[in-house]
C-alpha cells in the first residue's frame, strides 16, 4: 500500500481527519525549510505538501507568490527540492509527501526522469496546478509507472457532468479547491463546503482534502468534519513571512513560529472525532 493510502487508512481507524500543512521549498532558505519540514510530523502533520517554486504561479495569491520568489532567490530547483525530500526520508519513512507546483519546471526536467527521481527520493504524490485531466497524459503514465499518485484538483466550477471525468484518473486523494479564486484570499463557508463535498463524494471513494482559504484551527477542524483532510498553506507562510528580517532572512524564531501554528492546527483537527 502507498504511504498516502496507508496514512488515510490508519487515520480512519483512529476516527479522525488529516492535517496537511504546506511549505514552500527553500523559503526563505534551504536550512530553514528543511528544519520546518523535519519538524512537521512531530508537530502534528499527517501528510505534508511541499510547494515547488515557479516564476509565474498563476493560481497563487501574493503570499505564496512571495514565498516562491524567496525560494527561487535562495536557489530552489526541482533537484534541490527532491534532495530535501531525500533528507527528510532519512528520518521519516511514514509521513506522505506531496509535491505541488506548475508544469514547466517538470517539462524542463523531463516528466519521466522527474517521476523516477521523485519516487527514488521518497515522494508519494504530485499536484500539477496547470495540468487538467485533458492534458494529463503528459505526466500521468510516468507517475503511475513509479507508483506516484497524481492528485487531481476539483473546483467549485467543476460540475456534476465533469466530475466523473476529473476523478477517473485520480489517485491518492482528491484536492477540493474550496473557492473559485487564488490561494490566500477568501474562505469558503461551512455551508458551502457541506453542500459541495457530498457532491464530490458521490463520484469517488478516495479521501477528500479541502484546500484554499483554511487559516484557523477552527476552520481546519471544520474541514475535517466535512471532508477527510484540511490543507493549510497561506496562513503558515504568512506566519513565516512575519518572522523574517527586512532582507527576508530567517531569524532564530522562524522555524518554531511555523511549527507552533502547525501544532495548534493539529490539536484542533485531532479534537474532531468522525465516525469510523
Amino acid at each position: 500500500m502507498s504511504r498516502i493510502a496507508a496514512r488515510f487508512a490508519s487515520l480512519k481507524k483512529e476516527g479522525r481527519g488529516a492535517l496537511i500543512p504546506f511549505l514552500e521549498a527553500f523559503d526563505p532558505d534551504l536550512e530553514t525549510s528543511q528544519a520546518i519540514l523535519a519538524g512537521m510530523p512531530a508537530a502534528g502533520a499527517d501528510l505534508i505538501e511541499i510547494g515547488m517554486p515557479f516564476t509565474d504561479p498563476m493560481a497563487d495569491g501574493p503570499i505564496i507568490q512571495l514565498a516562491g520568489q524567496r525560494g527561487l532567490k535562495a536557489g530552489a530547483t526541482l533537484k534541490g527540492t527532491l534532495a530535501m525530500v531525500r533528507r527528510f526520508r532519512e528520518a521519516d519513512d511514514r509521513t506522505p509527501i506531496v509535491l505541488m507546483g506548475y508544469l514547466n519546471p517538470i517539462v524542463a526536467y523531463g516528466p519521466e526522469a522527474f517521476c523516477q527521481d521523485a519516487a527514488a527520493a521518497g515522494v508519494d504524490g504530485l499536484i500539477a496546478v496547470d495540468l487538467p485531466p485533458e492534458e494529463a497524459d503528459l505526466l500521468a503514465p510516468h507517475a503511475a509507472a513509479q507508483g506516484i499518485d497524481i492528485i487531481r484538483l476539483v473546483a467549485p466550477t467543476t460540475d456534476e457532468s465533469r466530475l466523473p471525468y476529473v476523478l477517473e484518473g485520480s489517485s491518492g486523494f482528491v484536492y477540493y479547491v474550496s473557492i473559485a479564486g487564488i490561494t490566500g484570499t477568501r474562505t469558503a463557508s461551512s455551508a458551502d463546503l457541506s453542500a459541495a463535498i457530498p457532491r464530490v463524494r458521490k463520484f469517488t471513494d478516495l479521501p477528500i482534502a479541502i484546500g484554499f482559504g483554511i487559516r484557523t484551527p477552527e476552520q481546519a477542524a471544520n474541514a475535517t468534519e466535512i471532508a477527510d483532510a484540511a490543507i493549510v498553506a497561506s496562513a503558515l507562510i504568512d506566519t513565516l513571512a512575519r518572522t523574517l528580517d527586512e532582507d527576508g532572512r530567517a531569524l532564530p524564531g522562524t522555524v518554531d513560529a511555523v511549527l507552533d501554528q502547525v501544532r495548534a492546527l493539529a490539536e484542533a483537527v485531532r479534537g474532531v472525532r468522525v465516525a469510523a
Binding site: 498563476m58 493560481a59 506548475y102 517539462v107 496547470d130 487538467p132 473546483a155 466550477t157 479547491v177 479564486g181
Partner: protein, 411 residues
C-alpha cells in the same frame, strides 16, 4: 461561409491550415494547460466559438462592425518611395495602423466582444503590453457598455502613458501589475488570477493568438481578415500574390492573421521576433531563437526559460513584443519550417521607425518597425519584379516618447 474566416476545411486534406486538432494542438504545441477552476469556462468559450465559427448571422453582425466602426477594409499601400529608397523588391504595406484605435488588435476585440455578449458575460478583463490591446478592449467595452478591467505591467504603464490615459478616458479601470519585471507576462498572470476569481460573470479577452485553446485558433480566425483582404487587394493591384509576406511576432496575432491565408500558397513567410539588445545577450524577446518548448499561460510553446524551467524576463524596446513566449501555431510553423523567423534588434527597429516616417509619411508602431527593419535588409537583395507584403500592424503615436528618449530628445 464568411470570406473573412479561414476555416480549417478550406485547406484540403494535407493543409497546414487544418490545425489545431480537437485537443487544441498544433502538432505538439498548444493545448489547454490551466487550473481546473478555469477548465469549465474554457470549454464554454470553445463551445461558443465553434457555434459562431460558421454562423452567418454572427458574421454579418461582425462584418457590419468591422466595416462601419473599425473602418475595414484597411488600405493596401504601395510604398513607392520606400521601394525606391531600398532599391529592390516592390513593397506593399497592409495598413492596419489605419483601423480605429490604430492597430490590428481591434479585429479580434470586435469578434470576441460579440462572442462574450452571446455567452452572457457581463464583465470583461484583458492584459496589455503596449496598451494597444487594452485600448481596443476598452473601446469595444465602451461601445457595448460593459465594465472593463485592464491589467498592465507597471513598467509598461510608465512607458506607454498615452495609452493608459486613453484607456481611462474610455472608461476602463487600468490595474498596474508590480510583480516580476512589470511587463506583459506579469499582466497575463494577473488577468488569469482575476479570471479564476470572477469566472462566473467574466470573459477574458485575450489579446494575442496565445493562451489556452480555443484562444490561439479563435484570435487567429478573427485576425485572418488581414491576410484575406491583402490577398484580394494585391490580386487587384498586381494580379498576383506576393513573393514574401512579413510581420512582427509578439504573441503572434498580427503575423498569423497575415500568414494563415497564405499557408498553402507559394509565398515565403517571415516572422520577425524582437531581438532586443541581441539574441546573444540576456536582453532579448526572441523566444524561437533563444527559447525551448514549455508550458506557460495555458499553452505549450517556445519560451525563454533557464535550465530549471523558470521563465526568464524578456526585453524589447517595444512593449508589445516584450513577452518570453509566443502563440503555439508559430512554434509549430517554426518547427516544420513553413515560416522563417528572424530577430531584429532594438536599434534596427528604431532606425526603420524613423525611415518610414521620413520616406512614406507614416509613423509606424515600434512593433511594426521590427517587420519593416527586416524589409530594409531583404528588399535590396530581391529583384524589382519581386513583391514584399508587410503588415504595418499599428501606428506609432504611442511610441513617440520612447523613440524620443532613445534618440536623446526631451519632449
Amino acid at each position: 461561409m464568411n470570406q473573412h474566416f479561414s476555416s480549417g476545411i478550406a485547406g484540403g486534406q494535407n493543409s497546414l491550415r487544418n490545425y489545431p486538432d480537437d485537443r487544441g494542438r498544433f502538432g505538439q504545441f498548444g493545448g489547454r494547460f490551466v487550473a481546473e477552476t478555469l477548465m469549465p469556462v474554457i470549454r464554454e468559450v470553445e463551445r461558443a466559438y465553434l457555434e459562431i465559427k460558421d454562423d452567418a448571422e454572427f458574421h454579418a453582425e461582425l462584418d457590419g462592425y468591422l466595416k462601419n466602426y473599425v473602418g475595414r477594409p484597411s488600405a493596401l499601400w504601395y510604398a513607392e518611395r520606400l521601394t525606391e529608397h531600398l532599391g529592390g523588391a516592390k513593397i506593399y504595406l497592409k495598413r492596419e495602423d489605419l483601423n480605429h484605435t490604430g492597430a490590428h488588435k481591434i479585429n479580434s476585440c470586435m469578434g470576441q466582444i460579440l462572442l462574450a455578449r452571446r455567452m452572457g458575460k457581463t464583465r470583461i478583463i484583458a492584459e496589455t503590453g503596449a496598451g494597444q490591446h487594452g485600448v481596443a478592449t476598452a473601446t469595444v467595452c465602451a461601445l457595448f457598455g460593459l465594465p472593463c478591467v485592464i491589467y498592465m505591467g507597471a513598467t509598461d504603464v510608465e512607458r506607454q502613458k498615452p495609452n493608459v490615459f486613453r484607456m481611462k478616458l474610455l472608461g476602463a479601470e487600468v490595474r498596474p501589475v508590480e510583480a516580476g519585471a512589470g511587463t506583459l507576462k506579469d499582466a497575463m498572470n494577473e488577468a488569469l488570477r482575476d479570471w479564476v476569481t470572477n469566472v462566473h460573470d467574466t470573459y477574458y479577452l485575450i489579446g494575442t493568438a496565445a493562451g489556452p485553446h480555443p484562444f490561439p485558433a479563435m484570435v487567429r480566425d478573427f485576425q485572418c481578415v488581414i491576410g484575406n483582404e491583402a490577398k484580394a487587394q494585391l490580386m487587384e493591384a498586381e494580379g498576383r500574390l506576393p513573393d514574401v509576406a512579413i510581420a512582427c511576432v509578439g504573441g503572434g496575432s498580427n503575423a498569423i492573421g497575415l500568414f494563415h491565408p497564405f499557408l498553402d500558397e507559394a509565398v515565403k513567410l517571415i516572422g520577425v521576433e524582437a531581438g532586443g539588445h541581441g539574441i546573444d545577450t540576456d536582453k532579448t524577446a526572441a523566444s524561437l531563437a533563444r527559447g525551448k518548448p514549455g508550458v506557460l499561460h495555458g499553452n505549450l510553446t517556445y519560451l525563454l526559460q533557464n535550465d530549471d524551467g523558470q521563465i526568464q524576463e524578456a526585453h524589447s524596446i517595444s512593449a508589445g513584443l516584450d513577452y518570453p513566449g509566443l502563440g503555439p501555431e508559430h512554434s509549430f510553423l517554426f518547427e516544420n519550417g513553413r515560416v522563417e523567423y528572424v530577430p531584429i534588434n532594438d536599434d534596427e527597429a528604431l532606425e526603420a521607425f524613423q525611415l518610414l516616417c521620413r520616406v512614406e509619411g507614416i509613423i509606424p508602431a515600434l512593433e511594426s518597425a521590427h517587420a519593416l527593419a527586416h524589409v530594409t535588409k531583404l528588399a535590396p537583395t530581391l529583384g524589382r519584379d519581386q513583391i514584399i507584403l508587410v503588415n504595418l500592424s499599428g501606428r506609432g503615436d504611442k511610441d513617440i516618447f520612447t523613440v524620443a528618449a532613445h534618440t536623446g530628445v526631451t519632449l
